[in-house]
C-alpha cells in the first residue's frame, strides 16, 4: 500500500484499502475559516446533536477577511467566535493570535504525521508535507464531521512524482510545484493523491515541502504527500501537541502514473494569467511590468519565505511604479521577522509589512488590484479576478522572483539585480 492508503486504512479500522473504495474514516482534526465556518455551523445546528464530537479537534481560524475588513466580515467572524465559546472549543484563534490556517496549524504542532485532517479550505492539502493525509472539503462535510468525527472518502489513486538532481540557484519548492502543474495541467492529478519523492525531496527543507503539498489542489489533486523522514522528525519534535506516527509507501505500492523531473533543468518558474498551469521561465517574462508584488499566503508566508524576500530587499528600494506588500503568515513569523530585522528591511525599502491575513491572495482586502493592474505574487492562484478587478492579472512566483520584480518594476530574477 501507499502511505495514503495506509493512513486511510488505519482511520477506517481496516487492514487494507484500495483505490476507488468508499470508506467512512475517523478524522483527527477538522478545520474551517471565517468564510467556510459560518455555513458549517449553520449546517451543524441542523443535524440536531447536543455537542461536537471533540471540542479539542475542531479548529476555527478567522484568517481570510480578518482582521475584519468590513461589517459583513465582522458578522461572519462573530459566528465563529460565538460558536467556539458556546461549545468551549479549544482551537479557536482570535485576531492577534491567529495566522493563516495552513501555516499556523503545522507551526503550532496541531497537525502531526499520520493524521487524517479535513478542512473547509482547498489548501488543507498542505499538511501532506508532514506525512499526513489532509484534504479540502466543503462546509457541509465539516458540519457532519463536527457531529460524528467522521467523513466519507473515496480512496484516491496515487500518482508519484520523482525529483532528482540539484536545484538551480534561487529555485525552490514553489518552482518545483509550478513546473509540475505546468507539465500535468490543472486537472492532471484530478481526484488523485500526489506523492512527492526522489533525492531532491529527501533534502528539501520543510517550508519548501509545505509549499509543494499546498499547491497539489492546483493540479486537481485530492492531496499531496511526502513520506516523513529526518527532516520531518526535526520539524515536528518539540512542536507536536499529539502523538504522531510515520507511515511509508511499500516498495510494491501501486501508482497509477509516475513522473520524473530532473531538477537541474527546472528554471525559476512563473505562472502567467489565468491558470497556475500556464507556466513560463521567469527569464522570458522580463517585458511584463508590474504594479504590485505580494509576498505571503499559505503557500509562501513562512519565515524562510520572508527571509528570501528580505535578502533581495536589503539595501534596495521598491520600484517607484510598484507597490510591495509583505504579509507574514502567522504571529510567530511576524515576531521572528521583527527580531531578525527583516521588518525593518521591508519598511526601509518602501514596502508594506502587514499583520497575518490571507487578504489579497483571494482578492479579500489589503492590496486589491484595479482594472488593468498586474501583480506578481507568491500566492497560489491566478484565476480571473483572483486579486481584484476581473480585468486585473496575477503572476505566480517564488519569493526571490517576486521581490526582485518589486525592485525592477517588472518581472525579474535576482540575478538581474
Amino acid at each position: 500500500m501507499t502511505i495514503t492508503e495506509k493512513i486511510l486504512a488505519v482511520h477506517c479500522g481496516k487492514k487494507e484499502v484500495s483505490p476507488g473504495e468508499l470508506i467512512n474514516a475517523k478524522v483527527d482534526l477538522v478545520l474551517a475559516n471565517d468564510i467556510t465556518a459560518p455555513i458549517a455551523i449553520k449546517e451543524f445546528k441542523r443535524i440536531g446533536v447536543n455537542d461536537v464530537f471533540d471540542k479539542d479537534r475542531i479548529a476555527f481560524i478567522p484568517d481570510h477577511f480578518a482582521p475584519q475588513k468590513d461589517i459583513k466580515a465582522a458578522e461572519q467572524c462573530k459566528i465563529l467566535r460565538d460558536f467556539s465559546r458556546e461549545y468551549n472549543l479549544s482551537l479557536y484563534f482570535e485576531v492577534g493570535r491567529m495566522g493563516i490556517e495552513h501555516a499556523l496549524l503545522p507551526e503550532q504542532g496541531l497537525v502531526v504525521p499520520g493524521d487524517l485532517v479535513i478542512g473547509a479550505d482547498s489548501h488543507t492539502c498542505t499538511y501532506g508535507a508532514l506525512g499526513a493525509f489532509a484534504t479540502g472539503v466543503g462546509s457541509t462535510d465539516v458540519a457532519a464531521a463536527m457531529a460524528t468525527g467522521e467523513c466519507w472518502f473515496k480512496v484516491p489513486e496515487s500518482m508519484k512524482f520523482i525529483y532528482y538532481g540539484r536545484l538551480n540557484k534561487w529555485v525552490g519548492g514553489k518552482d518545483l510545484i509550478l513546473h509540475t502543474i505546468g507539465d500535468i495541467g490543472v486537472d492532471g492529478a484530478l481526484y488523485r493523491a500526489m506523492e512527492f519523492d526522489g533525492e531532491t525531496i529527501r533534502v528539501l527543507p520543510m517550508h519548501a515541502r509545505l509549499t509543494m503539498c499546498n499547491m497539489a489542489i492546483e493540479a486537481g489533486g485530492k492531496s499531496g504527500i511526502i513520506v516523513p523522514d529526518k527532516i520531518t522528525e526535526q520539524y515536528v519534535k518539540g512542536r507536536a501537541k499529539r502523538e504522531y506516527k510515520f507511515y511509508s509507501s511499500d516498495s510494491d505500492s501501486g501508482y497509477v502514473e509516475i513522473k520524473e523531473y530532473d531538477c537541474s533543468k527546472i528554471p525559476l518558474t512563473v505562472s502567467c494569467p489565468h491558470l497556475p498551469s500556464n507556466t513560463r521561465p521567469a527569464t522570458e517574462l522580463s517585458h511584463i511590468t508590474i504594479d504590485q508584488a505580494v509576498i505571503g499566503s499559505c503557500t509562501n508566508g513562512r519565515i524562510e519565505d520572508i527571509r528570501e524576500a528580505a535578502e533581495i530587499m536589503r539595501g534596495r528600494k521598491v520600484n517607484s511604479n510598484t507597490r510591495m506588500i509583505v504579509i507574514p503568515a502567522t504571529q510567530q513569523v511576524y515576531l521572528q521577522a521583527i527580531r531578525e530585522g527583516l521588518a525593518e528591511i521591508f519598511v526601509n525599502a518602501g514596502a508594506v509589512f502587514s499583520t497575518p491575513t490571507c487578504g489579497p491572495c483571494l482578492g479579500g482586502h489589503m492590496g486589491i488590484l484595479a482594472k488593468g493592474e498586474r501583480a506578481i505574487a507568491t500566492t497560489n492562484r491566478n484565476f480571473v479576478g483572483r486579486m481584484g478587478h476581473p480585468e486585473s492579472e496575477v503572476y505566480l512566483s517564488n519569493p526571490y522572483v517576486a521581490a526582485a520584480s518589486a525592485v525592477m518594476g517588472r518581472i525579474a530574477t535576482p540575478g538581474e539585480l
Binding site: 467556510t36 455555513i39 479540502g136 460524528t148 486537472d187 482578492g363 480571473v384 479576478g385 483572483r386
Partner: protein
C-alpha cells in the same frame, strides 16, 4: 427525476472564483450570492439566467477553492442542474452534499449548443436534447452518491445515521 431546461454553455476549468468571486464571500446568504453567480465568467449571467435553466460546461468545472458558496449560488439562482465533462473534486462533493444535481457527460457537452433545451433523466442517466432530437448518456452516479441524494443531502444522511429524530 427529470430536469428539463434551457442550457447556458461554459468552457473548461471554470473555477470557483468565476462561479462566485471571493469579493462577495463576506456573506453566506444564498440570495445575495445568487446575484453574482458566474459573474466573472459572464458579466450578464445573473441577469440572463432564469429559474429552471441548466449549465453545461467543459472539464474540471468548479476547480479552485472549497467554497460551498459556489454550488449554493448556482442553486439559489434557480439553476436546476449542471452537466460537465468532469468536475473538480471538492465541487463534486459539495454538489452532492447540498443536493445540487450534477451530471458528467463528455458527449452531451460536445454537442449541446447554448440555448438548446435538454431533458435529463437522472434515474437512467440519459440526456435528451429536445432542440436537436439527440440523446446522450451520462456517467452513472455511484451508489453512495445516490444514497446521499435520496436522503436529501449529507446533513439528512448524517441525521439518519445518528438516528436524530
Amino acid at each position: 427525476m427529470i430536469f428539463k431546461g434551457r442550457v447556458w454553455r461554459f468552457g473548461d476549468n471554470i473555477d470557483t472564483d468565476a462561479i462566485i468571486p471571493a469579493r462577495y464571500l463576506n456573506t453566506s446568504d444564498p440570495a445575495e450570492l445568487a446575484r453574482h453567480v458566474m459573474e466573472d465568467a459572464d458579466r450578464d449571467f445573473p441577469k440572463k439566467a432564469k429559474a429552471g435553466d441548466i449549465i453545461a460546461a467543459g472539464s474540471n468545472f468548479g476547480c479552485g477553492s472549497s467554497r460551498e458558496h459556489a454550488p449554493i449560488a448556482i442553486r439559489a439562482a434557480g439553476i436546476q442542474a449542471v452537466v460537465a465533462k468532469s468536475f473538480a473534486r471538492i465541487f463534486y462533493r459539495n454538489a452532492f452534499n447540498i443536493g445540487l444535481p450534477i451530471f458528467e457527460s463528455e458527449e452531451a457537452v460536445e454537442k449541446i449548443v447554448e440555448g438548446d433545451v435538454i431533458e435529463i433523466d437522472a434515474d437512467n442517466g440519459i440526456i435528451k436534447n429536445i432542440s436537436r432530437s439527440e440523446e446522450y448518456s451520462a456517467r452513472p452516479i455511484p451508489p453512495f452518491m445516490q444514497e446521499l441524494i435520496s436522503a436529501g443531502g449529507l446533513i439528512e444522511w448524517t441525521r439518519k445515521k445518528l438516528r436524530v429524530s
